[in-house]
């Protein structure tokens, strides 16, 4: 039982790291998605700050979940984030169908549609699997393993950031200067 749970936990951590790293490469475009979900009139600097905060939050939770599996509370936090994904994709599907969700920055061109809701539900399901109990022996990592995992997670975040920046560089819709 331990192996599928740990695999689910690892997969979700990688997903959060990639999503956070990719979003950080272009906070302005993710801020435009954030604006859709804030009913109040909010200034762009504040929206950008929220976008950066969300991206950093995803990145931090992913890094912590991967390198500190002994902290069970992180599994609940990841599950809560996955439930938020479901809510966001459902609201996006209901009110902003066809608009780009920018869930992975420029890495993906996914839009708010039925498939995005389904994907979010699957992610939440995997997060629910990761909530299952794992033996203490499987969760205890020594410092070397933690450092190794942190390095791998850091590399993943950097690659996601760089890849999203490279893909996004040539795909800006219209850049006009005055």
């Amino acid at each position: 039982m331990d192996v599928p749970v740990l695999c689910a936990k690892t997969a979700l951590a990688c997903l959060l790291i990639v999503a956070g790293g990719a979003k950080l490469s272009d906070p302005a475009s993710f801020a435009s998605t954030v604006r859709l979900f804030i009913p109040l009139r909010v200034s762009w600097p504040l929206l950008s700050a929220i976008a950066v905060g969300v991206s950093l939050g995803e990145l931090a939770v992913g890094l912590a979940s991967l390198t500190l599996p002994a902290i069970m509370a992180l599994n609940a936090l990841v599950f809560a984030i996955a439930c938020t994904f479901v809510a966001v994709s459902a609201i996006g599907y209901a009110f902003y169908r066809g608009r780009s969700c920018r869930c992975f920055g420029a890495l993906s061109q996914r839009k708010f549609d039925a498939a995005s809701v389904l994907r979010s539900v699957v992610i939440a399901g995997i997060a629910a699997v990761a909530l299952a109990h794992v033996s203490a022996a499987a969760r205890q990592l020594d410092t070397t393993a933690q450092v190794l995992l942190f390095a791998a997670a850091g590399l993943l975040a950097v690659v996601a950031f760089t890849a999203a920046r490279a893909r996004g560089a040539g795909s800006r819709p219209e850049v006009v200067t005055r």
Binding site: C14, A137, V175, V176
Partner: protein
């Protein structure tokens, strides 16, 4: 302990597999035909508006006063692609066309070189990296035709003379209605651009 080692192994493998997948996705998107089409600006789009002073203290503007302006992004590439120089020589006689050469760094030798190869009189301007980015130009020599209304008429990577003349022909074609994009609300002045 075995399970913990398995967790580390699975996590590392998954991380590395994701890294490789990201490399693959980026490589495909940066090297295919789609990537080439993404460079430059599509016909009908609004080109960046700028004004820069060349080495002879002439003010060069875009959009131009002439019906058409050819902005040639070059850096060192004109020396490497002499046939592009031939293409420029073929089109520079046209009075309706203003040609400007844009380089990333100020190069005192650029104008003497242009004079030597028979392209004297062409303004050589130093464009900031953000101006290059605004035109979505990554590789040179790259040609962009802009009309007096500030619309992009044609743009492409060029390395042969005929491509320059063919682009000029394409620039003369009327714009299709679906390409006449409304002006963006988010205007930005590139750092280093002039007035």
């Amino acid at each position: 302990m075995v399970l913990a080692s398995s967790f580390v192994a699975v996590a590392l493998i998954l991380c590395m597999a994701t890294v490789l997948a990201l490399f693959g996705v980026t490589h495909v998107s940066m090297s295919g035909a789609e990537a080439i089409e993404r460079d430059g600006l599509a016909p009908g789009m609004h080109a960046p508006v700028w004004s820069l002073v060349d080495s002879a203290d002439r003010v060069v503007r875009s959009p131009p006063r002439t019906p058409l302006q050819l902005i040639m992004f070059t850096d060192h590439s004109l020396k490497a692609f002499p046939s592009v120089v031939d293409g420029l020589r073929e089109v520079m006689a046209q009075e309706r066309l203003e040609i400007v050469v844009l380089t990333r760094r100020r190069n005192e030798l650029a104008e003497p070189v242009l004079r030597t190869i028979g392209l004297d009189g062409i303004s050589v301007l130093t464009g900031s990296p953000s101006l290059y980015a605004a035109y979505n130009v990554r590789v040179t020599p790259f040609a962009i035709f802009v009309d007096s209304a500030g619309r992009v008429r044609a743009s492409s990577l060029v390395n042969e003379a005929w491509q320059v003349t063919k682009l000029l022909q394409l620039a003369d074609l009327p714009l299709e209605p679906e390409n006449l994009a409304p002006r963006s609300r988010f205007w930005r002045r590139p750092a280093g651009a002039g007035v």
